[in-house]
Symmetry: C2
DNA sequence: AGTAGATATATGTAACTTGCATATTACAGG
DNA sequence: CCTGTAATATGCAAGTTACATATATCTACT
């Protein structure tokens, strides 16, 4: 090896490159309310505060792959609907250095949410309360299980707010709701998910009709068990073929 | 200065950081069709191909500021609606090196579009044809003024396709259409913009009612001039106060 | 001056969608 | 076998949308 070979890899502008990270909004529904999984920061800055789990993007790793890796590392599992949310690039969003963060929204079923919590006990399942019920923006309240209202680290409150807003916006024209439900579910469960995300109650017959007319639901002929009253039929989500 | 001071800035991991760029979809409406401004690549890779204008993000520059700077540098003007679109991070999207690109959508009025073209004659105004008229995805055709169908460099066709898709999706719940129109416009011009983006024709009375009921339009009492027939009233866009 | 042509604007109606009230069905438990 | 509760189904009013049609207003031409 020639002693100057390393120079061809030497790129002074590399120092001028901000690192790129992915941050995950791990979202599920608990007790008919949106809930997010948070990690506690033990280092400066924002030591002691709760934050969205994240990690740096490897040089040989696409953004989607990095998000899937962080999901795996932070929750111990691979099952989740993952979609890119937005990229946050304010210069001072991290006081240590300039970091660009690509935020991803991960939608977890209740089962996956609980499994992550069991595998990674350090995670905090915090309830998310969205005060706005139809408007275009705002902020969200994040509440710990003990009822304590949290202030998230960095700009993570803004990321979470955007996640909730995006989810609401996509709710009735996309199939995101099904990513929060088990494979078999009742229409009531589907409505509960919608109501939790929208923060409003919906008219039951109208909701049923709309969902059934959409053509995404397949009746299984099976019924829920253990219901105290008339059991509801179980449906399955079937992505429409011609869409 | 201590001779080892530079070491505190020495960060070997910096070489592992992919540079971050912004790419701009400069979109306007020409002859009632969507049109995009492209730059010709004169270097490897994809030399000779047309591409979206872009630039690297400076270390002390937020993403939004970088996008505005690139807009200024590539079009010679500052007037445009700019919004972040999506971040493209496939490892091999640029054969030279790994580059992460934050795509922005810039909406230009016809006047701004022509001004950019006049200021930067190397730009190519290419027509964008979106073959899908309601579905969720697909690709777009990009056609040079001479009628030649172009193959864009890198993954820029995918970026452009996403831009068109996003624009369609936002068209009827947001105010993006007004970013493509001059300050004063007729209802017919507004409908033309909608039809160009949607790729379908719309029912005129229904469109008028919907737009007027939205509460965003203010009648000015002035009328278009130079019309061969009955002149249409000019309206102004007024962002609704309580929204 | 008056009329034809073209487009803006307005209105009426049928079809469709949505919200809401009400009725019926099916289960558990006493 | 009755009661309570929720699932499911149905009916109707109110609202929205698509479409056809009518009226208004301008230019251009004779």
């Amino acid at each position: 090896m020639n002693e100057t070979d390393f120079l061809k890899d030497y790129d002074p502008s590399a120092f001028q490159r901000p690192p790129v990270a992915v941050d995950l909004v791990l979202l599920g529904i608990r007790d008919n309310r949106p809930a997010v999984l948070l990690v506690k920061r033990d280092q400066h800055p924002h030591a002691g505060r709760w934050a969205l789990p994240g990690g740096f993007v490897g040089i040989d790793e696409s953004l989607d792959v990095a998000a899937a890796r962080v999901l795996r590392e932070k929750t111990g599992m691979a099952e989740a609907h993952l979609e890119q949310l937005y990229t946050f690039g304010a210069v001072d969003r991290d006081p240590r250095m300039r970091i660009i963060s690509v935020a991803y929204l991960a939608l977890l079923t209740e089962r996956a949410f609980d499994a992550a919590l069991a595998a990674m006990p350090a995670l905090l399942p915090a309830a998310v309360h969205v005060p706005w019920a139809g408007e275009t923006g705002g902020s969200v309240d994040v509440v710990a299980p003990e009822g304590e209202k949290l202030t998230l680290a960095f700009d993570h409150a803004a990321i979470l707010a955007m996640a909730m807003l995006r989810l609401r916006g996509k709710l009735d024209y996309s199939d995101v709701a099904f990513a929060l439900l088990p494979e078999l579910f009742t229409l009531r469960q589907l409505q509960d998910v919608h109501e939790a995300i929208l923060g409003t109650s919906l008219n039951k017959p109208a909701f049923r009709r709309r969902q059934l007319d959409r053509g995404w639901l397949v009746a299984t002929g099976a019924y829920e068990s253990g219901a105290a009253f008339r059991p509801a039929e179980l449906y399955r989500f079937q992505p429409s073929t011609a869409d």
